[in-house]
Amino acid sequence: MSQTIHIEPVTRIEGHAKITIALDNDGHVADTRFQVTEFRGFERFCIGRNFWEMPGITARICGICPVSHLMASSKAGDMILGVRTPRAAIALRKLMNYAQLVQSHALSFFLLSGPDLVLGMDANPEQRNMAGLIAKHPDLARAGIRLRAFGQQVIRTLGDRSIHPAWAVPGGVRQSLSTEQREDIRKQLPEMFETVERGLDLIKDVQERMGSEKSIYGDFPSLYMGLVGPDGSLEHYDGHLRIMDADGRILEDDVGPLDAMSLITEGEKPWTYLKFPYYQPLGPEAGMYRVGPLARLNICDFAGTPRADRELREFRHYGGHGRPVSGSFYYHHARLIEIMHALERIDELLQGAEIARQRTRSRADVNCNLGIGISEAPRGTLFHRYEVDDNGVLVDVNMIIATGQNNAAMNRCIGQIATHYLRDDRLDEGLLNRVEHGIRMYDPCLSCSTHEAGRMPLQISLYAADGRKLDEISRG
């Protein structure tokens, strides 16, 4: 007799999804599916619109990382114009991109995953949330909220609003920063560094406490993909694409936008709206790759800022023998190192000469019919590819979103967790939350990933081999 388990909705993640676990005749886990249940259709309904509208429209793919879409879309627009984007505009875009990284990572670590990490995976589900965290650890919760608020405030200062700012445009950005605004942001940095240090202490404690248990949370070989700077440093806005294998060998390097998307094929399954991209030359199984904080720290040669580099050197030990870090649980730690790096880069940018230059926008008409914009979103590499006619009207749109690229890995991860914790064909609260945490580690953004999709509550159902539903778990 085999069976299937469903978890629906998955909570404290950014989107809508459910999880299904199928058992074989011996009651062992035979298959796990992370299913995204919503679809929105941007790639189709944007056809016929003008590329100038795309930053504003595609930002609405996701309210959590609208800035990522703003960046990728504006960069695709830059290519269509065929102009050199002013250096001040690039510095300002980078500033906004780092600010978003800070706010999104702070939300993921302190407010969404924090309750599991601090209160415990088995804590009472009624308390295991932001309100519970505030009640038990008010200082930590407040610090996390203020770190997120800092990122949002920088975005608001640049673009007049923290969510969906109509600020980056093909050719540059609409407005610059005053000296006073720059100083105002810099003044807040010491507190933010303090909070990220505190987060790092916390995650190191959690990792030590969990011991070998953390390897159950999705430790497996995969490829890693992301952008690196021209010198091989950690990069979130520009640079070139690099792909590394599980042993740390570099498979692709120096890949520019025109070639990057041809390396990826998007697989599809009938049971989810979320696609399964893979590295084309190796096929869907061996070509499984991961993106996001863990992947970026694995592929870069160094971070390029002093405090993040210090943390990165320590982080590399988790890989062992010079290999990449393969445990998915380390996404949390990687996220904090990235916040540290982003804060250091924000400080540098604000003091630099480029950001103070006055010209922030280059103006032109359609000069190329193809535009590809690649940028690192908090969750991983984001691709926007537009084909336009001579009037700038879109004839084809393709977007490959970070969370989709982690889809195969997330499925694998929950399979590993379910296999380990499932006992006696029964679902319990601890299993439910651990499986969900397996998803949370990737900080999936399902509004993005299915651009296409929306939110992501989750449910687990348990199914027998003959298709009978044996158990279903829901809280409430």
Partner: protein, 184 residues
């Protein structure tokens, strides 16, 4: 702050994310430290930020982000209406369909076959079992259930959210100033 048994006299607040981008929820989080005060006043009983799986009974206020796009949304919004005293359309997608409804001019089948190039993805018998079917057209919330108040904006900014919540929690009618009634 009480952290154990829920106090019956505290208002029960839910937030729901239907077809939208979660930008409205992010704007709600932009209350920043004021959230700490809010959570001392209300019980957050359902939503993406808490682990409750089933929409509970006797909810006082529910902020509904997003439009109604599929069968799951339809089922949930009807249940929300039955179990909630005050239902709010929270943001432009809930209010008008907004960006989410941009697909309305395209038949669902065309939409899916265009996006899933192999057309093996959520189309066909297995898909019907596995994922909720899309409605032919995205609907704003008020076309499906009665709505008690609306909060426009894409997303509504934090001042609007604070003004609306404080009016509702004081038992007042929501009266937003003209500058707070704009879309986009």
């Amino acid at each position: 702050m009480q952290e154990s048994s829920p106090n019956k006299s505290r208002p029960r607040l839910a937030t729901v994310w239907l077809g939208g981008c979660s930008g409205c929820h992010m704007s709600f989080l932009d209350l920043d430290e004021a959230i700490i005060d809010l959570l001392q006043e209300v019980d957050l009983v359902y939503g993406p930020l808490v682990d409750t799986k089933e929409y509970p009974e006797q909810v006082d206020i529910c902020l509904v982000e997003g439009a109604v796009t599929n069968l799951d949304n339809l089922k949930l919004i009807r249940q929300i209406r039955r179990s909630t005293r005050l239902v709010l359309s929270f943001g432009d997608c809930a209010l008008t369909g907004n960006v989410t409804s941009m697909r309305n001019r395209i038949p669902v089948e065309d939409l899916l076959t265009a996006v899933y190039h192999e057309a093996s993805s959520p189309i066909g018998a297995e898909a019907v079992e596995a994922v909720p079917a899309l409605l032919p057209r995205v609907l704003p919330v008020h076309q499906v259930v009665r709505v008690d108040a609306v909060l426009p904006g894409c997303p509504p900014d934090v001042d609007r959210i604070a003004a609306t919540l404080s009016a509702l929690l004081d038992g007042q009618t929501v009266k937003l100033e003209p500058r707070m009634r704009t879309f986009g």
